[in-house]
């Protein structure tokens, strides 16, 4: 991160929040660079909203400091911070029309003529004809845009978004994601976005911080997080991962490990340090990186690829792809996504198959962790 003094950096140092004996946020350090689109991603109750509210001033941190640029705002009340929030469920003022909702912040700071600025904002969020409507007369997507306009008109140093798309249906959510991204590029303000939707975080943000149980598990660009998860939580929460328990037999430029009687290789720099021969390791591979071959064609698989045998337990046709669950000696329920380009009619439940993939796509994780961490559960899927 940059060390130059800038106006819109958000720096949290040693910030934490405890309620009685419950720790919502463990002491954490976080720097959000000016002008970036930053996402705090995690399941509900992981501390991401509390972190956001501490930046807004709506929650007082138990320890630590909040810096905006070089200014310590830890002790400032919310109405004195150059930060604005788009609330979950929007919190539009029901007794004011759209125009007055958007003008609210300007009026409180004593700006006399708000007309031109409000009109510009309405233009930006494409609601020019709705200025005199009351919030309850608008659709969910329109209310969401009013909430964004109401915050942005104040030109905050940082815009905080608390699950802003959570109440919208899937299609509208996708559209609003692009819309928010467009607005952020246009105004260049730092956005800090809290969400539990990993796809949303990856589509919109430059940098994603994955939070779990009040701690930041990992932080980085979406592709970096997806390709190189450092914990099982990140591997499972961001997309789907196959995690195979293996025993390390050799450590060189490549790490060689055995699982279910087969041999798997992976680059040593994609393993957590330290790895030693005889130790245990979780070998990870994303479902779309795997190619599925019928057992009869096993000889045609090029050498040098990781491979493991199994039997198809289940298939589901998604449209663009088909998802297979494969049981084998290396693990049960291994996930494989195949593009529906040339479908092999022999790949049906019960068929003997070989899974093979490029060793370079393989990542290693510390075997001391919970393999299931972050994986969707039936009731916790949302």
């Amino acid at each position: 991160m940059t060390d130059t003094p800038t106006g819109g950096d958000v720096r949290l140092t040693g910030i934490s929040k405890t309620y009685g004996s419950f720790t919502a946020v463990h002491p954490l350090d976080l720097t959000v660079p000016e002008g970036s689109f930053f996402a705090l991603l995690g399941a509900s109750g992981c501390g991401k909203t509390t972190t956001l509210r501490m930046i807004a001033g709506l929650e007082e941190p138990t320890t630590g400091t909040v810096l905006l640029g070089d200014r310590d705002v830890t002790d400032l009340p919310p109405h004195k911070r150059p930060v604005n929030t788009v609330f979950q469920s929007y919190a539009l003022f029901p007794h004011l029309d759209v125009h007055e909702n958007i003008a609210f912040g300007l009026r409180r700071r004593g700006v006399r003529s708000v007309r031109r600025q409000v009109d510009e904002m309405l233009e930006l969020v494409q609601l020019g004809d709705k200025a005199r409507h009351r919030p309850h007369q608008l659709s969910g997507g329109q209310q969401q845009r009013v909430a964004v306009a109401r915050a942005l008109i104040n030109h905050p140093r940082v815009l905080l978004l608390d699950e802003p798309l959570g109440a919208l249906d899937l299609k509208l959510r996708r559209r609003m994601q692009l819309e928010l991204k467009r607005i952020q590029t246009e105004v260049g303000i730092t956005f800090v976005h809290v969400t539990h939707d990993q796809e949303e975080a990856m589509t919109m943000a430059d940098t994603v911080a994955v939070m779990n149980a009040g701690r930041v598990e990992q932080m980085g660009a979406p592709a970096e997080l997806y390709d190189n998860p450092r914990t099982t939580f990140v591997a499972n929460f961001l997309g789907t991962s196959n995690l195979i328990e293996a025993e390390v037999v050799e450590v060189g430029a490549d790490v060689v490990a055995t699982a279910g009687g087969g041999t798997l290789r992976l680059p040593a720099d994609r393993c957590p340090a330290p790895v030693r021969a005889g130790g245990r390791l979780l070998v990870g591979i994303r479902p779309e990186k795997i190619t599925l071959a019928h057992a009869d064609d096993a000889d045609a698989i090029p050498s040098g690829r990781n491979r493991t045998a199994g039997r198809i337990a289940d298939t589901s046709f998604i449209g663009v792809s088909t998802q297979y669950a494969v049981d084998g000696p290396a693990g049960t329920g291994l996930q494989v996504y195949e593009q529906n380009i040339e479908r092999d009619p022999r790949l049906v439940p019960g068929a003997e198959v070989v899974l093979h993939w490029n060793p370079a796509h393989t990542f290693g994780l510390d075997a001391a962790q919970d393999v299931e961490a972050g994986a969707p559960t039936v009731e916790g899927a949302a």
Binding site: A56, G57, L58, H79, T85, H95, G105, R108, R134
Partner: protein, 266 residues
Amino acid sequence: MPNWIRRNLVVLAGLLTLVYLTLPNVVVLVFSFNRPDGRFNYTWRRFSADAWKDPCGVPDLCGALALSLQLAAWATLGATVLGTMIAFALVRYRFRARGAVNALIFLPMSMPEVVMAASLLTLFLNMGAELGFWTVLIAHVMFCLSFVVVAVKARVTAMDPRLEEAARDLYAGPVQTFLRVTLPIAAPGIAAGALLAFALSFDDFVITNFNAGSAVTFPMFVWGSAQRGTPVQINVVGTAMFAVAVLAVVAGQLLTARRKRAEEHH
């Protein structure tokens, strides 16, 4: 014929209920134009607008009416301010006696009024208080309070606490937040509570009669004169109060309708 009845049964039932509700008011209105023989305005003789031309023609009537209006205004103000504060405290804050206060608020509503009236008199006499305007006002604020609390509490409970956070986030300090967001949103509840308080206070006879000393409110005046004869002016005042209330409701509805239309046009 049975078909016609089946189709219009709901309308008929509604109309009959409406008649049931308004018939007493119609009687009050009609008899305000009566010229009775003798002192009692109980049988229709002939049409006359005399009472309307001289509503204060009966000694002490307008004095009693003024006292009642004054009492109702002050009782409404007191009960609304205190009740609103209690309602906010009960909804927003967690304090030790919250459960007890929540239950005690309903006590004046559930206590038989005549018992309450007698007990209040005992209390005032033991304290050596001089019965009159102030004792009645204190009593009225007390029994109006619970109704205001109930009305405001319903509104405040339904209010999204994020609205106030949003206001604070948008540069409104604590006072501005209260004046610009909290109060306007709670206003319908407060207004409902205030109207209820006014009506209850203006109407009250039992508690007032016990604690008024030599003061005479309008309900007390009506009761007193009913012993000796009922002047037509009582009906005039009743009709006028009814008309003011109806006008207020109609005006409110017209205003709402116009605002709705204006919003739809935009």
